[in-house]
């Protein structure tokens, strides 16, 4: 029994920490209707600003917190002004991706400035601890709780009772109307980002002190947990964010109690999925009533796709096939082979997200399913790759669609969150289902690709195989797009309500899109497994999902040639940038931001 109390206390303690993050995220979510992926980066930045203040200026804690508060507020204003305001009125996916680009840039800047090594953060809080059950809480726990509660309370009062607060809420409800009413919407957005970022920064400092550990890679997990807490509490709901955080902490804690540490995140993400499916408005979001008709029904930027003349496309394809005859530079062939494999992933996502409008952040999971399926068939059952690879594609199609199916009822950024969570769940299941997947140790000795009994071990052969698969899939996908089915998928993307009223069963078509896309992603994963001869749960990670989305945006959503072009550019360019190795991710983030800002329909236009 006493252990139960300990687990409960611990759950509340960690929930307390999540709450600090979630409150800032909730504020931005509520007003800008945006998952701010850069929030975790501001959190990290705040921790480092605080560290610098303590180490170089020897400031006492309250002063440090003030410095961090102001510094991060300024950063928030800059982010909003430069990164997000120019995107007003553009496709809704734009600000989401912009925050991802910003997070790359910020994280890299921090790493360049401070080196990737974790640092300790000295704190001058008194050392006493209060024993509760078998555990204890200390001064820092109370400080964090205090800051969390006070900021939530202040925010609540601010939003409810002040003029600027009302303006914030009005803008959140209806930006256009607020504008009409004379609300200075720009000032409101700035204020919101400033406050939220300030909170984020302070939470970074406090958490860094709590664990005596800060490093530039803290951002992603922080954002993820914050998002989960928010969904539970009700997106955009500030008090809800606190309750959601505490609940998340408790569930994680009990999960550990039940099954062990390695299941912690699994519990968190399954909880997220449960809420997304059954309580999408969270605990405090209220029940949604009839959906009012939106004024316009489109999610992606209206644009004209660039029509490349047929002959040029065929010429380029022939040139690609002929390349290994012209040069046998293995480095070039390897880079392009990687690009072809990435292109398969991009093709799959451009169909799912571009054509059918289902923004998926979990494509890497489909590759993982394909990779493991083929590896296990080959290693455990002795199946030749010529059988196991297509079988893996089909497995990814079936299993992937099944997993994501419950999320079809979700819209817009909820689909993004759900697919992200499902992707993480797949990764965690792979990690923990050791009897099947060998867990973290991974599967070694995966046989190389072979065709008709002969191993394909030359760079050329592998290059041609991958290129051939890309071309075949690209042709199939193009054919699909020009069929009635393609038309139907695009209708699903454009306007679900109108589509339904004309007989289009949404679940079925979303499933078809996912299945077709997942097949391609699964093939990519399977081939990769055979090429690397080794894979484990880290081989296909969430970074890959984000890379996939970026390739698709770069090329133009739904655009088959664009997806392939995006893959070549985003897998080829980093190799070119090898010269500026340490600045590569920074440049990449900036390029992403520039794209979003100036050409969101991508290079070849959305289709």
């Amino acid at each position: 029994m006493s252990s139960f109390i300990d687990y409960t206390v611990n759950g509340l303690v960690i929930g307390n920490i999540y709450a600090l993050l979630a409150v800032g995220l909730a504020l931005i979510f509520g007003v800008a209707n945006l998952i701010n992926f850069a929030h975790g980066s501001v959190y990290t930045l705040g921790a480092y600003i605080g560290w610098a203040a303590i180490v170089f200026l020897h400031t006492p804690l309250p002063v440090t917190m003030l410095i961090v508060f102001i510094g991060c507020a300024l950063v928030g204003i800059v982010i909003e002004r430069i990164g997000l305001r120019p995107l007003q009125g553009k496709a809704r996916i734009a600000p989401l991706l912009a925050t991802i680009g910003i997070s790359f840039v910020l994280d890299q800047l921090v790493q360049l400035a401070f080196s990737p090594d974790p640092r300790a953060v000295p704190n001058d809080l008194p050392d006493w601890r209060l024993t509760i059950g078998g555990g204890s809480i200390g001064a820092m726990d109370l400080l964090i709780a205090g800051v969390g509660l006070v900021s939530a309370a202040l925010l609540y009062i601010f939003l409810r009772f002040t003029k600027l607060g009302s303006a914030v809420r009005a803008t959140a409800q209806d930006r256009e109307a607020a504008l009409q009413m004379g609300v200075n919407v720009n000032a409101v957005n700035s204020a919101v980002f400033a406050i939220a970022s300030a909170l984020g920064g302070v939470s970074g400092l406090l958490v860094g002190m709590y664990y005596n550990h800060i490093d530039p890679a803290m951002s992603f997990q922080a954002t993820l947990k914050g998002v989960v807490a928010q969904v539970i509490g009700g997106v955009g709901n500030v008090p809800g964010a606190i309750v959601g955080s505490l609940l998340l902490g408790l569930v994680e804690s009990y999960g550990i109690a039940l099954l062990g540490t390695t299941y912690r995140n699994l519990f968190a993400f399954v909880l997220l999925i449960i809420f997304l499916l059954w309580l999408p408005n969270g605990l405090f979001g209220g029940r949604s009533t009839i959906q009012t008709e939106p004024l316009v029904g489109s999610f992606i930027a209206p644009s004209r796709p660039l029509r490349l003349p047929r002959w040029s496309v065929w010429a380029a394809t022939l040139a690609a096939f002929a390349l290994p005859f012209a040069t046998s530079a293995p480095y070039l062939l390897q880079t392009l082979t990687n690009a072809w494999l990435a292109a398969l992933l991009a093709l799959s996502l451009t169909l799912i997200a571009g054509t059918a409008g289902q923004i998926s952040f979990g494509q890497a999971a489909l590759m993982a399913i394909g990779g493991y399926a083929s590896a296990l068939l080959a290693v455990d059952l002795g199946a030749p790759p010529v059988l196991s690879v297509p079988a893996a594609g089909l497995t990814a199609a079936a299993l992937g669609t099944l997993l994501v199916f419950p999320a079809f009822r979700l819209r817009g950024h909820y689909i993004a969150i759900a697919t992200l969570a499902i992707g993480e769940i797949v990764s965690l299941v792979i990690l923990n289902w050791e009897s099947l997947t060998r867990g973290a140790m991974g599967i070694t000795g995966i046989p190389p690709l072979s065709l008709f009994g002969r191993d394909l071990d030359s760079n050329r052969a592998i290059y041609w195989l991958c290129l051939a698969i890309v071309v075949a899939l690209g042709l199939l996908q193009t054919r699909l797009l020009s069929s009635h089915l393609g038309r139907t998928l695009r209708a699903v993307r454009e306007d679900e309500i109108a589509a339904r009223c004309y007989g289009v069963r949404l679940d079925r078509y979303k499933a078809l899109a996912f299945a077709f896309g997942a097949f391609g992603a699964g093939l990519s994963g399977a081939i990769t497994a055979h090429l690397y001869s080794y894979l484990n749960n880290q081989t296909f990670d969430s970074q890959l999902s984000l890379l996939a989305l970026t390739m698709v945006i770069l090329g133009g959503m739904g655009n088959v040639l664009g997806a392939i072009a995006g893959a070549i550019l985003l897998v080829g360019l980093p190799e070119l940038f090898r010269i500026a190795a340490e600045y590569r991710i920074l440049i990449y983030g900036v390029v992403l931001l520039a794209l979003i800002r100036f050409r969101p329909q991508g290079l070849l236009g959305a289709v």
Binding site: L485, A498, R500, C501
Partner: protein, 281 residues
């Protein structure tokens, strides 16, 4: 003969508000019935319930002898009911042609086989392989779409491959109607088809609808432009605050004091009026 559409005791509540209260409504085959009333009267709510986007709390809706009030919109569309939307909902990034072709989705047979469980796989396969039957169906459909577009003169045909968002508002509403016609509906629901249109465009639309009616189409129309309503309708239902306050022929409704009162009470305070026209012209 049984009416094509019948609503009995239809009620819809949202929290404390009753949007539609025990509505009885009948549409006979070949009729054009209008649904009018001040804003917020519950007209679009009724449409949403007929088309399956919403479910009534009480009451039932019967279409061609079948109860449809618990069916999903896709199923209702397959039964031959097409609708347009109050603010216009075309598929913005799809071409005019594609928009209208989608309207025929429920009628497709070659490319959308009916088979248990595996029909999705078949549909995918047919989309990729495209046997002659599929090609023929598509060609026939495209020809039909041209026919439908010709109803609108030159406006849509000349832009048939342009994305819908590039067309004017009025044209987009026309596309909506063309799409609805492509479904070959037994019942056509039009939700304020002339909203936001100038008098010339309104007159054109009125002529178009009259033409459809002349060809035997059964239409249920929501409109604010009372002249049009009077000219087109066989019968009119008047709603106010979710309640049917009058029904009957255009002449009957025009002079019904309750109706005048309803409109008077919602606008034009202080101006004496004895008929609807006086207020709304």
């Amino acid at each position: 003969m049984a009416p094509l559409l019948e609503m009995r005791g239809l009620t819809r509540r949202f929290g404390g508000v009753t949007a539609v209260k025990t509505l009885d409504l009948v549409v006979e085959e070949g009729e054009l019935v209008s649904l009018i009333g001040p804003n917020g009267a519950g007209k679009t709510t009724a449409f949403n319930m007929i088309s399956g986007l919403d479910q009534p709390n009480e009451g039932e809706i019967v279409f061609a002898g079948r109860p449809i009030h618990r069916l999903a919109p896709e199923a209702i569309a397959a039964l031959g009911l097409a609708r347009t939307f109050q603010h216009g909902r075309v598929f913005a990034n799809l071409s005019v042609e594609d928009n209208v072709l989608l309207g025929a989705h429920t009628r497709l047979r070659a490319v959308r086989p009916r088979a248990p469980l595996l029909d999705g796989v078949f549909e995918l396969a047919l989309a990729l392989i495209r046997p002659p039957a599929v090609e023929r169906e598509e060609a026939a459909l495209k020809a039909e779409v041209r026919e439908i577009l010709r109803l609108f003169g030159d406006r849509l045909i000349s832009r048939v491959h342009d994305a819908a968002y590039t067309l004017s508002y009025a044209n987009r509403r026309r596309i909506e109607i063309a799409r609805a016609l492509a479904l070959r509906p037994r019942l056509l629901l039009l939700d304020e088809p002339t909203a936001g249109m100038n008098p010339t465009e309104t007159a054109e639309m009125q002529a178009l609808i009259a033409g459809l009616k002349a060809q035997g189409m059964t239409i249920l129309l929501i409109e604010h432009k009372l002249e049009m309503v009077m000219n087109l309708s066989n019968r009119i239902y008047v709603l106010d605050d979710g309640v049917k306050i009058a029904e009957g022929s255009p002449e009957g409704v025009r002079n019904d004091p309750a109706v005048v009162e309803a409109y008077l009470g919602h606008s034009e305070v202080g101006r004496g009026a004895r008929s609807l026209e006086a207020i709304t012209s």
